[in-house]
Amino acid sequence: MKAGIVSYGAYIPRYRIAPKTIGAVWGNDGEAMGRNLNIRAKSVPGPDEDVITISVEAARACMAKVSIEPTDIGAIYVGSESHPYAVKPTATIVAEAIGATPVLTAADFEFACKAGTAAIQTTMGLTISKMMKYGMAVGADTSQGAPGDALEYSASAGGAALLVGTDHVAAEINHTVSYTTDTPDFWRREGQRYPSHGGRFTGEPAYFKHVVSCAQLLFKRAGSQPQDYDYAVFHQPNGKFPVRAAKQLGFKDAQVDTGLCVRDIGNTYSGAIMVGLSAILDEAEPGDRIFAVGYGSGAGSDGFDITVTDAISKLRRDATPTVKRMIETHEFIDYATYAKFRGKILLREA
């Protein structure tokens, strides 16, 4: 028996800031920075948005596409590195807000940018083993780069939720493999506001080694080649890394284009590959095959070989805005507004 994606939903905040606007504040050529990262804009959460509200919006968009009782969901796992509480789960609030409580299990996951894909694998196991009918895996983040740091040009906000199960499967997960090592390329210590990273160390020994190794394992497991897929999507910390990894693996630009949302919204961390996958599912047709490899610093990659089924045409894909529509619905803000929204301005205690 195979598990798969029963439904999906994404959410992207409407505010945007351009690399040029960020660069102007720090005396850098932001436009060149944006070109170099292949990022035109990044999403910014409103002052009343956080990982909990983004997860709820994504989970509701996911449930709006199907006529499944929320109480049939046996597990909700939310992957993020920016949970609003250090102690108190995001997942319980999501469960309550979609009406899935009280008979379910819930937890928050953390594995840098791949906590959401780890949640997909967990819910696959729980549903294949018949412990429950459906599980929900959410990946969402509102990550911040330290002001002036290179990460500030890419760290953005967004998320997606996948309903996973073995019935009414709209996209079957044929294979999943992971590749994990202890690699300190990016981290944030408890109590620290902004993350730290290993600079150039984040590229070859971290992102590329894990993504490419995991992808090659997945080809081997599935007995497939790049040309067997209609779409390919990778973790996208910027618009450059996934394009280079795809090329190295033998994929063509046309296969990567649909899921490469980072160019317009920046790096949504745990949300990134799941938002990209949602953009693909928004337009995929029965029989389409998708190759997906995520990445989380620390470090590891989860890979998925997916085939879209006839059931995708039964999903109410127009019930909520598509990823493309959410990318188009935006409002650009200046750096001062961005600093205010992101709590970068010190205030008198309320």
Binding site: P47, E49, T53, E96, L347, R348, E349, A350
Partner: protein, 136 residues
């Protein structure tokens, strides 16, 4: 501030999911939920059901807040509106994703999930509904 926790906790169903009440005797919908129907009184006792609003409504009237409590400094100026839900019941809510000058009476709006406030940096965070223009 912590004495507010039980009250917020009791109101989670109405704040998160717009759950009101419906009178089993006359069919009147109330939000927030009531234990007794204001029209039927004693006749409604034991007949009140919980009832989830669909989340869609129309702006009846609104006002722009320029002088906000310090918790809402980040959002001002912002719009507070009275919205008539499709089920007929009215509620007061913040309107988001729209500039004050673009708000119109009669505008179609829909519920969304947002952070409402928090009990300081170390306290509980409160979540619930706000409204945005329909289709935005």
């Amino acid at each position: 501030m912590t004495q507010a926790i039980p009250r917020f906790w009791r109101e989670i169903q109405s704040r998160y999911n717009l759950v009101g009440s419906k009178c089993g005797s006359c069919g009147k919908v109330d939000f927030p939920p009531r234990a007794v129907c204001p029209d039927c009184g004693r006749k409604s006792i034991g007949k009140m059901q919980s009832f989830k609003l669909c989340g869609k409504g129309t702006v009846v009237t609104y006002t722009t807040i320029y002088d906000a409590p310090s918790q809402f400094d980040m959002q001002k100026p912002y719009v507070m509106a009275i919205v008539e839900m499709d089920e007929g019941v009215r509620l007061t809510t913040q309107l988001i994703n729209v500039k004050p000058e673009d708000v119109k009476i009669g505008m179609k709006v829909q519920a969304t999930f947002r952070k409402l406030g928090q009990d300081g940096e170390a306290g509980v965070i409160h979540y619930g509904y706000k409204f945005r223009p329909a289709g935005s």
